[in-house]
Subunit: 330 residues, 2 copies
């Protein structure tokens, strides 16, 4: 029997099916279920039996504390699988330092996140903020030909990070007629990208970019990367889309560039501090679209994450390499 | 010399270049320029010399009256080219009855209109109305997994009308993973459509459609076509996108279906009465996006329309068939 730490809600919704599917793959699971009250803690005996822990969708954020308190108690824990893709939070460094293996669900939310990013781009490109303001005031106020927005076809989109999310954004932007430039460490050419460059070329690519899209993980390399000097290299009126991590951008510099009119707008799902403080000027700057770190929201994610975890369980049982394994130093 | 009636603004921006380009194609143009004041009328002598009239972008709507007053006076008028695609306005029937030929710029705005329609779809599909309301109130209020929107992939989009606009909407929706069903009179299969059906099958297709997109011209067939009984055939929560003509839909029935919750939302660029009256409930129904008959707005339209007109001028000179010619009875 393999002890698996799971949430109360996961157990209620998927527990039985999950155990049955794992059994068909040769894995006998012993589900160790967290209490339904997020203030309650799992008992020590149960925690001691946990060999694997599953940080599922429903745990975030209310049950995060309860879950990681249990993993700390689980002295026999060997592997943690998480529903999300970004594991820059310090709790994961601690997990890795204990020698626990860590796998993510990278890829499971790429399609919805990319669709959200493209929605933000189209919303700004077609000048919906003006129409939305008109609707709010019951005002029929069409743009005239003298103030029509530029054609989207032929505009340049620079995407920093071409993982599963950046790759899907590239595909969609390319199909909408944009010229797509990708920046990534590994120079893999994908069909959707018109140009691909190494990170050291990033600053030189900014002056010709109408759109800067951040789709990279937060790392020592990317923390604070987009600062005032890089933003200044973008052409006047350029727009920024960030669906990665707020810390990749120098947020005060971004705000200043939006306020001065150097940038023409932004779609931001992530922020230096989350929840975004009520006093932040980002909430009501013109042509700035704010969403609450929620771009992935899609009903199919849960099934996709469960499928990745089940596949990894099979691999675990057979001592095969795990999918989406995170190494200590990345 | 061929007398061509043009707007004051067209003449100022493009007149010289246009005359030069036409000359290279063997057409000597005599530009008859409307006065810069929309209340002023062209003199009778000039009007009498007009063989062709060009209803350009900048004339709509402030100068429409001035322009059509001039075409009425132009007894020698043989051909009218218009910047738009939809010529359901009664003024065009009068033109055709006089024996004047009529050509449109169908296709010139297909890409921006399709992009706007797709923006509306994505905005509703990703549940942006909720995020927009949160932003307006500086409230960080992410959706939890229990209220995530459905995956867009696999949803069914039914498009009525597969001209250049409907075809481009189909292409984009298909690439976003939707199952696209097209309805058109001519059963031409295009690569972007998963199924294609004749108009008599339309009612039977509604029950499986998550999205109903109206992209047809207004005609005797389509006027009032989408009535209460057809809307009732859509599944609960389905959404309607209309970028064609408001009169295609029974608007009170649409409002009732939105208010009852039978429909989950709508993106509407066109209305039974335009400007949409300030008292219309459509302005602030939840999950209804209203734009002011403006979905085509894009800076590249003018050049595309001029190119279509120039091509037709060449054909006119050579007695070749004109592109986008409208027949009396369609």
């Amino acid at each position: 029997m393999t002890g698996l730490l799971v949430s109360h809600r996961f157990n209620a919704r998927f527990g039985k099916d999950f155990v049955a599917t794992a059994r068909r793959d040769g894995v006998e699971l012993d589900l160790l279920v967290l209490p339904p009250d997020c203030g309650a803690r799992i008992d020590d005996m149960a925690a001691a039996r946990a060999e694997i822990a599953y940080f599922s969708f429903d745990l975030f954020p209310e049950f995060s504390r309860q879950f990681f308190s249990a993993t700390r108690k689980a002295s026999g824990l060997k592997w943690l699988h998480v529903f999300n893709a970004g594991v820059d939070h310090p709790v994961y460094a601690t997990i890795l330092e204990r020698g626990v293996r860590l796998t993510t669900s990278s890829g499971s939310t790429a399609e919805p996140i990319a669709q959200t990013a493209i929605t933000g781009m189209l919303y700004l490109a077609r000048n919906f903020p003006r129409w939305t303001a008109g609707q709010r005031n019951r005002r029929w106020d069409p743009m005239r030909s003298t103030d029509f927005p530029r054609d989207l076809r032929g505009q340049v989109m620079l995407i920093y990070g071409l993982g599963s999310i950046g790759g899907e954004i590239a595909r969609l932007a390319h199909l909408l007629g944009l010229h797509v430039i990708g920046v990534r460490r590994k120079a893999v050419k994908t069909g959707s990208v018109d140009e691909i460059h190494a990170p050291d070329k990033f600053p030189a690519l900014l002056p010709k970019s109408d759109w800067l899209v951040l789709a990279c993980p937060l790392s020592e390399e990317t923390r604070g990367m987009v600062d005032a000097s890089l933003l200044a290299k973008l052409p006047r009126g350029a727009r920024v889309i960030n669906i990665s991590r707020g810390e990749v951008v120098d947020e005060p510099a971004l705000i200043a560039a939006l306020q001065s009119g150097h940038l023409g707008g932004a779609y931001l799902d992530v922020f230096a501090q989350e929840p975004l403080p009520a006093g932040s000027p980002l909430w009501d700057l013109p042509n700035v679209v704010v969403t609450p770190h929620n771009s992935a929201a899609s009903a199919g994610n849960e099934a996709r994450v469960n499928a990745i975890f089940l596949d990894n369980l099979r691999r675990w049982k057979r001592n095969e390499p795990l999918v989406n394994e995170v190494n200590k130093r990345q």
